[in-house]
Symmetry: C2
Subunit: 207 residues, 2 copies
């Protein structure tokens, strides 16, 4: 399991989503071609990716949807709740807080932070906006595992260093900052314009 390629790991959540959708419409068994079509890849890739997780499918029959959901969830560490904080509670931070499906998928937003004195102390859903001054203390006391970084880019590196110093080992980075952090901190950059650029490619080819 320690040798699962990063690209395979990146596809596991997509398979999980497809499997969950299949289950929702009453499908009990899928073969690799069906799963590939739902996930936007090919059957050989599906078989190879899932082979890293052990012997899961049955030749000529396919994968048991319920069993595969449980197994992939387990591999992804989704069987326990993950404690998440949002740092930077502007429009994007606020939208992520109310983003559908995070709680359903085991991600509990347990704290939100901002540096704007006008926001600190205000209600944020069932939470209260915490001050960025208390960042390290609150992250530690709430045992936060993942931080969603939604600050302005200019303060991204500074805040990320403070987050890492508080023991958080995973950051979802919505800023444009290229974060330089200790090797044991895993960073996922998110850039929504990437998706638009991919769509732009296809528009340019077909127009």
């Amino acid at each position: 399991m320690d040798h699962v390629p990063d690209q395979t790991i990146n596809r596991l959540p997509i398979y999980l989503r497809c499997l969950t959708q299949a289950r929702a419409v009453g499908i009990a068994v899928v073969n690799s071609l069906q799963l590939a079509q739902m996930a936007g890849t090919n059957a050989a890739q599906v078989r190879k990716d899932l082979s890293y997780l052990g012997e899961l499918g049955r030749r000529g029959i396919g994968y048991d949807v319920e069993g595969l959901i449980a197994h992939v969830s387990d591999v992804l560490g989704l069987t326990e709740k993950r404690r998440v904080a949002i740092v930077g509670y502007g429009r994007l931070g606020g939208a992520l807080h109310s983003y559908r499906g995070l709680a359903d998928r085991g991600f509990d937003i347990v704290a939100v932070f901002d540096d704007d004195a006008g926001k600190v102390g205000a209600p944020a859903g069932d939470l209260t906006v915490a001050s960025i001054d208390d960042l390290e203390d609150v992250l530690r006391s709430l045992d936060v595992e993942i931080v969603i970084l939604a600050t302005p880019t200019a303060s991204g590196q500074d805040i990320a260093e403070r987050v890492a110093s508080a023991g958080v080992r995973a950051i979802m980075n919505f800023t444009n900052a290229r974060l330089e952090l200790p090797d044991d901190v895993r960073v996922r950059p998110v850039d929504l314009s990437v998706e638009l650029q991919v769509l732009s490619f296809y528009l340019a080819r077909t127009s």
Copy 2:
């Protein structure tokens, strides 16, 4: 160019972002290893991906940053502005409207829609929230090329069909709906919880 693999196309915007960052700090030439490290892939992958775009680098020297930015931008169709509409102007739609960098990268938000009578007609940045009743007419009259679908999942398929019927050929889908649309409509599903699930995998492995 018609045979560039989808996976390569998906990486081109990431290379473009890395190259733009390199330029911002004054780097004029990068080799494939450097670009790979910035993009989170390997040098062979970078060379293979860029080989689809023609003979671009010089052996033993590398890629001219400025020239490669121009070339990748051209391939991605980013040299002309793309006209984009946001359908569903809740917290997520609003956050995407003010999302840093879309306009800088050639994506002009030219219309935003909602079905809430309390929002229709209200100001939205330099726009006014349009009624979903006028969706097809407004998309056509403004010549919208890309729609960002940020409605509730339940109405996703219905709205997407109307978007397609108005001639839009590219949809960025933030709903959970699995859209069934004509083959000439390109859909990019976006699921922010995927990134959290990948982080969760690494947390599960190291804890």
